[in-house]
């Protein structure tokens, strides 16, 4: 297992989708490779930050228009 092998599997590794033997091989590599260890940590952080973040505001006027539109369309659908 070299650095490129780890990079290509980092996503599946942090998602816990790899078989046991592959996980062991990756972790063996990580013990000896500082760069790959950082890569795995930073990728995990990236995923967690975006998962925890709420980057989109939900303005009151958008909500109001949604409700108004649904109300109107339901009324039309009933005609």
């Amino acid at each position: 297992m070299n650095c490129n092998d780890v990079i290509l599997r980092v996503s599946s590794y942090i998602d816990g989708e790899l078989e046991g033997t592959l996980v062991q091989e990756i972790e063996l590599h990580l013990k000896e490779c500082h760069d790959c260890t950082i890569l795995v940590q930073q990728t995990k952080l990236t995923v967690r930050w975006y998962y925890d973040s709420d980057l989109v505001d939900f303005p009151a006027d958008v909500s109001a228009r949604l409700h108004e539109t649904l109300r109107r369309k339901i009324r039309e659908a009933r005609k």
Binding site: I7, S11, T46, Y50, F58, V62, H67, L70, I74
Partner: protein
């Protein structure tokens, strides 16, 4: 409170119930009354809404509108398109409520509809940037050439609003093909299978694009966070 308004205008409760199902996502709107029903009770709300329970419908609307807008906005990155996609997604779900199988999660069903609406608009606006093709093998620009330490936790170095601005600007730079998969998998929490179905690509393509998306985001974030402060 438009459910009550609709009811007083003679709208059939069953139709409102259908709409409720349309709205089964998951974050309560802070501008509205707090949810009295736990998230685990989604199926009860949906069943009640289908049978014409107006309050159940109202609960579902309040619960999911914010999350659907976040999804359509994250995909389209255009407020007008995001709003249109959200409205059409709710109406489409309402119209097809009878086809919804209650053995699956309503949330997932609604997300698929909303993602499709958002993708349709994104493809119209950027016809050459969103493809259903399998990823091109050999594209290795996501392979990091140099890995640099980010230093002490960026979360502690940056204020919450600054972090939010950085995350937003970085995801905006991501190509739509990658952004869509990343948003569905890592922000909305869909499975690989559900994401593949929503976007219309294979599961292998989802995995490939997710890997590239995560690595590209990591790389772009590094421009802001690396210890020596260089860009």
């Amino acid at each position: 409170m438009y459910c009550a308004t609709l009811a007083t205008r003679g709208i059939e409760p069953g139709l409102l119930a259908n709409l409720a199902e349309t709205l089964t996502l998951s974050t309560p709107n802070p501008h509205r009354l707090p949810s009295r029903v736990a998230r685990e009770d989604e199926h009860l709300l949906v069943t009640a809404a289908k049978s014409g329970d107006v309050s159940a419908f109202e609960e579902l609307v309040n619960r999911y509108e914010r999350k659907i807008f976040r999804l359509t906005m994250n995909i389209t990155r255009n407020r007008e398109d995001a709003e249109d996609a959200m409205q059409d997604a709710f109406m489409k779900a309402y119209s097809h409520l009878d086809k919804f199988q209650e053995d699956s999660r309503f949330y997932t069903w609604l997300v698929r509809i909303a993602a499709n609406e958002a993708l349709m608009r994104l493809r119209k606006r950027r016809p050459n940037q969103v493809s259903l093709d399998e990823p091109i093998e050999g594209e290795d620009d996501f392979i990091p050439q140099q890995i640099q330490d980010w230093g002490p936790s960026p979360e502690q170095r940056y204020a919450q609003t600054e972090m939010r601005d950085i995350l937003r600007s970085v995801i905006d730079e991501l190509a739509p093909d990658f952004r869509v998969v990343f948003v569905l998998r890592d922000v909305e929490g869909l499975s690989t299978e559900e994401t593949a179905e929503a976007v219309g690509i294979s599961e292998a393509a989802v995995k490939s694009r997710l890997l590239r998306a995560r690595l590209k985001l990591r790389q772009k974030l590094g421009r802001h966070f690396r210890q020596d402060g260089t860009q």
